[in-house]
Subunit: 402 residues, 2 copies
């Protein structure tokens, strides 16, 4: 009986086999990753003032680059994504690609026609240099010593990778959420290297609302004593910051979804029928949140989560460019912007603003709202609807109609 | 320079003088509280199966009970409220009443005409028995041994208090959020003792969405090692669970407000101009959230927060009553329901449902949406708008027109 327990003394049982960090590290299976060493001759000066040299960039590619290199599409991943954007799970270490419904032969981002690239971002944890990488100054993982990076820094690394791949100009740069932030910065930092962009479910500058969620998530990770100031890479499984990290992810997962979806999917269903009065008895929705929290902790790195959340908070196309509108005057590429109707984290008005300002400065802008109950995650879940518009847009760019 | 710091190693500085618990305890200034001992002869059997005897109930009253006791209004407080609902801060220990704009001479809940009562809820921490109270079985605070309570348990204690006060029938029972849950249960558990009700910004049953936020908040408190399984009452100031508690409150504070308000109030303003690239440099909205987190930790008890969040998750008028509609068939009192237009925690459709179901079972129902950008907190912030409708409703009840 639940009522026999001390109701407040036993929080959730967490699995004890979660690694201290889910970061990829040299020696782990590489899957389809390729690697390039960048900034080897002189370090990159980061926007925040620190510098970083010998940056490894992990990326994946699909399709074939045309002889004139005019069919390359860059896919930018979101906060907890990675380079493995496409492909079904074939038993390899990486599972399904996070945008597998959009990228592949005959799909919206058609790998029969386009050469598609997705790179793990700077500060990430799946092969590109980040907090879990070895700090050459100490021979140990950077941890808390990893510098603050911005979306612009992330894009600069991608630009260096593009040069390495022989891609002077992307036919398209596309992505949602944090990926969309990179898309926007690509078009503003390198207008000559981008023929079209598709920012999805994103914003010209993180709002106070978005910063709030991010800030609380970061505080939760740091509350876990096993985060240990960012130094946990030597910890045994179950001894890292996975509980704080999982709770931070649970919080984020709510903001990625919607009341409507949760109500139709879970309502007030219980994990164990009739077990409701114990303080830590769970409703189904709690089990769902726990599941997603632990799932992320197994495959991601807590310090990368902090680093990239901070990068998102810093995102502001107006920084050092006077205003959002002044920033967008740099833009020359045609733009397809998309919203998810039920997104309460990156509200549709933020994408409407992109459309309105691009139009105001005389650019070519198309805007589409995907009707969906899945909230912010709609840009991942609604592959068919997002793909239909995106595929049509890219096809017109490819044909030279845009 | 922020960039000279190790960016991930120093989370927010928290004040070191926060008491381990903000609970009121015997010997502390009583302010305007009165106390009554209830269930002294036989313990109360709680809905979850445990029992609790010798329950102290702290309450405050304003105005004068009429000779026929027909002018009594019960005000039910929300999650972190208390009995001090009315009155300006006069230098006493309790400060402003949480609904001071609505309760007072000539105000909507007119203390010149009505006898107004507000009781601290069972499981709370401002004088009514709760986790910080002494457990007679051990001589120490209950802590984790405090039983799970439900909204119905809370209302049963209030009913016993009403009898003690000589109030057989309330002219009105009113409240918002968790207060509104009590309002609904009053009308369903004691239909003969309630002449009217006004549930505001509340629900007939907590949704998966509401449970999600509550669950994550509770997990954050329990993540703080200084929560110590609920046993922290002996800890020195700064050694209790105030950091986890403050972060949980910060999270809740976001859900109580709105994107629109945050954007117009904070936007991307920084606490220290130009200090932005340090990992823990703060935007103004972060400072605001920290402030509200610490403020609550100073005046509330973390275990009460867990207990009452759980009570809210358990709230479901349909439990053991077949369905929501069947439950509402018990209701005889006229109902005024109110929503806040921008409330994304207790969405207006939930109050619309109250109105629709009361109407469907043949009851008298009035429904009003308060247009406000303040989100769920609008029921507290928009005193004038809420008071205008509530005052009119109570006046008609008082005159016998309803």
């Amino acid at each position: 009986m639940a009522s026999d327990e001390h109701p407040l003394s036993h929080p959730r049982d967490w699995p004890t086999d979660v690694p201290a960090s889910g970061a990829w590290k040299p020696g782990d299976p590489v899957g389809n990753r390729q690697f390039v060493e960048l900034f080897t001759e002189r370090p990159m000066m980061l926007e925040g003032g620190e510098s970083l040299g010998n940056i490894t960039c992990a990326y994946e590619t699909w399709g074939t680059l045309s002889p004139t290199a005019d069919n390359a599409v860059l896919v930018c991943h979101a906060l907890t994504g990675e380079s493995h954007a496409a492909g079904q799970n074939t038993g390899g270490p990486q599972g399904d690609g996070w945008w597998k419904d959009l990228i592949g032969p005959g799909l919206a981002i058609d790998t029969n026609r386009y050469f598609v690239v997705c790179a793990n971002v700077l500060g990430g944890c799946q092969g590109t240099t980040g907090p879990a990488s070895i700090n050459p100054a100490t021979g140990k993982p950077f941890g808390a010593a990893f510098p603050t990076v911005s979306i612009r820094d992330i894009v600069r690394v991608q630009a260096s990778m593009a040069t390495h791949l022989g891609i002077e100009t992307w036919m398209g740069v596309v992505g949602g959420s944090m990926g969309g932030m990179q898309v926007l910065e690509w078009a503003l930092m390198y207008p000559d290297r981008v023929r079209s962009i598709a920012p999805i479910a994103t914003t010209l500058g993180s709002s106070a609302w978005q910063i709030s969620w991010s800030a609380v998530g970061r505080m939760i990770v740091a509350l876990d004593p096993k985060w240990n100031g960012g130094d946990y890479y030597d910890a045994a499984p179950g001894q890292g910051p996975h509980v704080g990290f999982a709770i931070a992810r649970s919080l984020a997962q709510i903001t990625y979804r919607s009341d409507e979806e949760f109500e139709s999917r879970f309502g007030r269903s219980l994990v164990e029928p009739h077990q409701i009065f114990g303080s830590w008895d769970r409703f189904q929705v709690e089990s769902y949140l726990d599941y997603h929290g632990v799932k992320l902790a197994r495959r991601f790195d807590a310090n990368s989560y902090l680093t990239l959340n901070k990068a998102m908070d810093l995102h502001d196309v107006a920084r050092n460019r006077q205003s959002r509108q002044c920033a967008l005057e740099r833009l020359t590429a045609p733009v397809l912007t998309m919203s998810i109707s039920s997104d309460t984290l990156y509200h549709p008005y933020q994408q409407q603003e992109i459309h309105d300002l691009v139009t105001a400065v005389g650019g070519h802008s198309e805007y589409h709202v995907v009707e969906s109950p899945f909230g912010h995650d709609g840009f991942l879940v609604e592959g068919d609807a997002v793909g239909a518009k995106l595929g049509d847009f890219l096809e017109r760019v490819h044909k030279g109609d845009l």
